[in-house]
Chain length 147, copies 8
Amino acid sequence: MKVYLSGEIHTDWRDQIVEGAAGLEVEFSAPVTDHAASDDCGVAILGIEDNKFWHDHKGAKLNAIRTRMAIEAADVVVVRFGEKYKQWNAAFDAGYAAAKGKALIVMHGADHQHALKEVDAAALAVCETPQQVVEMLTYVLNGTLPS
Amino acid sequence: MKVYLSGEIHTDWRDQIVEGAAGLEVEFSAPVTDHAASDDCGVAILGIEDNKFWHDHKGAKLNAIRTRMAIEAADVVVVRFGEKYKQWNAAFDAGYAAAKGKALIVMHGADHQHALKEVDAAALAVCETPQQVVEMLTYVLNGTLPS
Amino acid sequence: MKVYLSGEIHTDWRDQIVEGAAGLEVEFSAPVTDHAASDDCGVAILGIEDNKFWHDHKGAKLNAIRTRMAIEAADVVVVRFGEKYKQWNAAFDAGYAAAKGKALIVMHGADHQHALKEVDAAALAVCETPQQVVEMLTYVLNGTLPS
Amino acid sequence: MKVYLSGEIHTDWRDQIVEGAAGLEVEFSAPVTDHAASDDCGVAILGIEDNKFWHDHKGAKLNAIRTRMAIEAADVVVVRFGEKYKQWNAAFDAGYAAAKGKALIVMHGADHQHALKEVDAAALAVCETPQQVVEMLTYVLNGTLPS
Amino acid sequence: MKVYLSGEIHTDWRDQIVEGAAGLEVEFSAPVTDHAASDDCGVAILGIEDNKFWHDHKGAKLNAIRTRMAIEAADVVVVRFGEKYKQWNAAFDAGYAAAKGKALIVMHGADHQHALKEVDAAALAVCETPQQVVEMLTYVLNGTLPS
Amino acid sequence: MKVYLSGEIHTDWRDQIVEGAAGLEVEFSAPVTDHAASDDCGVAILGIEDNKFWHDHKGAKLNAIRTRMAIEAADVVVVRFGEKYKQWNAAFDAGYAAAKGKALIVMHGADHQHALKEVDAAALAVCETPQQVVEMLTYVLNGTLPS
Amino acid sequence: MKVYLSGEIHTDWRDQIVEGAAGLEVEFSAPVTDHAASDDCGVAILGIEDNKFWHDHKGAKLNAIRTRMAIEAADVVVVRFGEKYKQWNAAFDAGYAAAKGKALIVMHGADHQHALKEVDAAALAVCETPQQVVEMLTYVLNGTLPS
Amino acid sequence: MKVYLSGEIHTDWRDQIVEGAAGLEVEFSAPVTDHAASDDCGVAILGIEDNKFWHDHKGAKLNAIRTRMAIEAADVVVVRFGEKYKQWNAAFDAGYAAAKGKALIVMHGADHQHALKEVDAAALAVCETPQQVVEMLTYVLNGTLPS
């Protein structure tokens, strides 16, 4: 099973899932989580831009090569919304994955429940913790529930 | 041409576009913009829920009947991000529209430029005002530029 | 909006919806609801069969010309499960519609809730009465809630 | 060849097919067949629900991650209808598989022939026993008939 | 309903269907049935060819503009096999229509039954006369059987 | 029938086809053929750019809203290559149309034959004059050849 | 590269291609070429039929499990028309493969040229001998021409 | 990751990329770059043609077996435009890849910027050198930027 881990990049939630899923037949993918590299990749390779819009544009498109390919290949897309920032790219990925018919799992705290209701409505599961994602992957693959 | 107007529902930007586009062969669609009705439609029709999550869930799914159908039918999807709120449903719609191969126009103020870089990267045009959307629709349909 | 009304054919639920939706811009379609004609159409036109399996097979395929075409054309598929019979064709239509990405509304009594949980899980709305379907169509098209 | 075994979970028909097909290049998949785990997986991982509808809803969606993925990946979908229960999820899977263009094999007893005529009409083969499924897989892969 | 009438062009079966279906909401399409024009259209417009292969190639491709468009637009494709000639283009159209998910009706005499078994296996109905096609279209659209 | 006329914009070939096809049931579409407007539309509406690349980029994307929509809607795409310029956008449109399964007609002079062999290989017809396009549309729609 | 070898089953053309292609990275597939098994597979496994139509129907559908799967998986579909029989299943496969966007190679003698013009028009290559197929596969994979 | 290298065949840019990407998990594909073989493959295998158009036609179609298959399989399509020739096949490939939703990277010198603006507008990255392609592939796969 291929699982793409989209969204928040400032905590170690991806590591927790990958570690928790050790032993399962899962192949994980993710966006580049080095924030500085992700922001500057476009101009670093393709030449500097004076205008911040085009600076970001080049980077966002280069990152899209990776993220689109990973979402297309995924069976399951997990999207985590953290406490901070606008995180519109996470919601964009969720919409993209939903339109492609991917199984969508959304992870967020209770305080974001109302604001994420449309995203949650497109999901096959809504949870709060990496541990729950691990338990779901374990159940989906092996049919066993947490004891 | 069918144009879906997604996103912010607290200002009159949709009216400005519809009025400005009078005379063009455009058929506009939009989500339900009555905030209270949109929030409560699920339970009003399908029965109350004690849990706020399911209250919202029912409503979001009922609204999805309208919004998915409109995005599928659209040639162009315009997504506006306003000054306030999380607006994750707007970004979700943008991702959904992009994955469906719709022509995407994103409208937002300069202060959101960096946060929306991934959404903008999927768009065929990024603008700030309803007047610019009208000018684009006029150009795309009639080939004439603003004088 | 095009709405296909699938499922139970022994009560007048379709008539209630069509009458209730008078005035809405909805085009309804349905399977042939004349039970005898539906059962015998294959052999009546294409020649008799000694074997009941092929008798039914010819009829079911001829009916499929109508039902597949209607589901493909529909924006919304309403599937009603009644009190009696196996109604596997209703569940088949629900699965077919779900796989085609149609907005699915399921209508059934509370006693069938557990048995229909997989079908309900694929729906954007689950309700019990034709009146609720009318209210949903009204809301989805006009944005107005029942008073 | 990938074969998904959908439907009835109370007899050992899956085991019979898997054993009979030993030596063939077939990779089988199936839903979780532990009835209790399948019913309660949603609340066990994602939190309890007072309302039975949502209890079932969470579980059905979590199971859908597994079943949709397996049907999408399958070349052949075998759906068995047993003697008991409504088995609407089996018919739903058959409709889903048909709409996705999968080769559909339906297995059921003669007493269900009339009620399953629409499902059978979408199938490439209708049979009664696991042994027949094994013989078909053997023929399809190796071109040899039972002696 | 859009119905494409493919195959044999030497008898008046298309006229019989069109006349019989007068009053039904059906829009019929067909290939160019002027045999000489159909054979020579390529070179007549695009320049002569010494080699018969290219003479035919140009014509077949020009005819394909019409036939592919008509099959794509059709809800139902009727393919008739007559008594004479190889009629490989009829079988090609049947395969093309089947792959596009069109409802396929095959019409042929009993003597071709064995040779057409693979084509018939992909059809929703197999019949012998134009009258049967009319009766099927009448039933599919109006739900009424021949008296 | 919907026909998109792509490619060279410096001669009146589109007018010749539209006039020649008067009386046929054809709906023509085309890119914006006002060269200056086409080049500057992006910055005229969305704001000036110092860098010629982004100046062109904004314009090309805005034009793509029109051209992609027109190609998607077309049954037939006619692409003309003239005597001058690189005309890579014409070849791009041809590739785009081919991948979308559109019927492709290529029009060019004999001197470009070798350079266009890959484009011609994807076409259903290759011709030199607008009159030939009119004759093909006439034949495809009415079955009549030029006298 | 996956190559499906469709059509005539009475000569050893498939063996010639497979042997000639030894050393190339090609995975070949084919229908069941045991004529008797292919004709009787349906009733041998699924039960006898008095009516020859249903006898053939069961067999043709069972064979379709293999052939559809193989065509779907193929990169290249080679269809050979021999000297005898109607061979409508070969033309059906060609149409099916064309509609699925597969690279189509047609092999037949010169005497069938006119009757196969529509099938040839959908092909990327038309040839007469297995040796030519081997040479094409060699060129397509390795870029080397026969010396 | 699968990367197809389309376009100019007279310099060693493909070798530079393949060498630079040594160690990355990338599988490269390309058209046949032996110019003489590519031009004459059709007639060498399928028989000579007097007419240059059909000589080229046969070759272009045979090459299309390889190129279409490679583009379909690719995650990323890199298209290089060189200094000379019309290179319409390169632009055709770019359009084909864009329509198939492939990640598109365009490589060309500054002098072609204006003429390629429509092609560049469909790309996720525009660059000038093979080294930049290597750096992008490295970043996309490993998340590391050139130091």
